[in-house]
């Protein structure tokens, strides 16, 4: 599944790295590295990370989310 983080918004709260550690990882105190194309098995965790992000910086592919039944209004 494709995802992108708006790093202008990201403030390094690290919720995503806690909820989906195989996809998101802190790099230094505040920087974030992530896998832009996560494995399908990570779908649930990535959806949780996106929902938990305090600044709502994570965008997950709408079609991937719909496939997981997670899309809010698809």
């Amino acid at each position: 599944m494709r995802l992108v983080v708006d790093l202008n918004r990201c403030q390094g709260y690290a919720q995503c790295a806690f909820l989906a550690p195989d996809v998101f990882a802190m790099h230094g105190d505040e920087g974030l590295l992530y896998d832009p194309q996560a494995e399908a098995a990570q779908r649930e965790r990535v959806a949780q990370a996106a929902a938990a992000c305090p600044v709502q910086a994570i965008l997950v592919d709408e079609l991937d989310l719909a496939a997981a039944g997670e899309a809010p209004d698809a």
């Binding site: 403030q11 790099h27 105190d29």
Partner: protein, 463 residues
Amino acid sequence: MPDTALEQLKRSGRIVVVGASLAGLRAAETMREKGFAGSLTLIGDEPYEPYDRPPLSKSVLLGRADADRTLLPRRRALDAEWRLGVPADGLDMAARTVRLADGDTVPYDRLLIATGVRARPWPNEAEGELDGVFTLRTRDDGAALARALAAGPRRVLVIGAGFTGSEIASACRERGLEVTVAERGDGPLVGALGGVIGAVAAELQREHGVDLRTGIMVTGLEGDATGRVRAAHLSDGTTLECDVVVVSLGAQRNTEWLTGSGLGAGPRGIACDAGCRAFDIRGIVTDDIYVAGDVARSPHALFGYQFLSLEHWGNAVAQAETAAHNMLSESTERRPHLWVPAFWSSQFGVNIKSVGVPSMGTEIMIAQGSRAERRFTGVYGYQGRVIGAVTFDNSRWLQFYEQQIEATAPFPLPFTTVDRRSDGHKPMPADFPDPSVPTHGPTITLSGYSPADRRITFTPAGH
């Protein structure tokens, strides 16, 4: 009375987007969100669906992501016709057609140009074609450079210490590779952030084992008998042995395909109004051609109506959304592109972020933290107001300073800031290089004409 032409456009018009990267994709999605039901064509010179570029100089070089796995997520299904792998090479404004390199023509009712920029190549073509010499802009560039770094070169030379060059050097050190950075200016990042911050960036590089050489130009690259780069000649007379060279000298705008079209396009980008409508060469705004992303240059009310061209990820998204909205709106419903510039970089374990236009700043004040700790907020002042801010590992402050910039808050800051350290509360010269002396080129270029004084300044090409 509703505009019947607009209704017809929305129902059955033809919209063509030239440029299939971040701006083109987000614009196309926004058009569909606005109810555009006509035909939508996206034209891209690369054979790939829109992908994200920032990871190419970070995760990809660290080997944590593959260059072919950074495709951008979609906000919605597009129902578009994709013409990928074939660049546009001409525009006929009267006939309203785009000509493609394969000879095809694509007619439009509304056109969005989002052709972006490309890496500036090494000026000596033969040297630039040596094996082991790279630039970094595209997915193919990223894959090739990642392969070269993974092969364990003995020494990498990075030419140019802007953001991309510095990120590449950082990735090299993280991989344990020896790296030399040659920068013509006084320090890394000086074009974008000035000498005060450049000095911090220089210390950061040296602490991490980068062989940073400032005030130095690379005068030539030398290959061996098999056509592989083996050394670089420097302006101080020395020779540096290296088996990978990354040319990181900024970007050139992709406007050549518009030459002769009558559109106001050139090496500095495509001039457009705050509503993203392109100007023609007479200075008259067009009704049916819009511009967004790195290739656009538009006046910003908050910064003296100067024409800003911003090679920023966030600008591409925001301007694309504004352009798409305006393409499908009546004139009174159109919105200005008033995004406050913002960007980020990640290097040597430090998260660097900025808002506003630091390069307009004449003074800087360290408002939070300290430079010695590599954790601080620097606030830039211009003519008694706050014009920009930069943070090193201090990004949660940035939003506050963005509000100060939007409110044209006075500089020096009239309030006492928290977490103030030894750097104190004193403004000092921001120490930007003289713009008439070429360095690696800032990420933001300003040109001055405003509605208040209708001067037209002609600046010759030659980048």
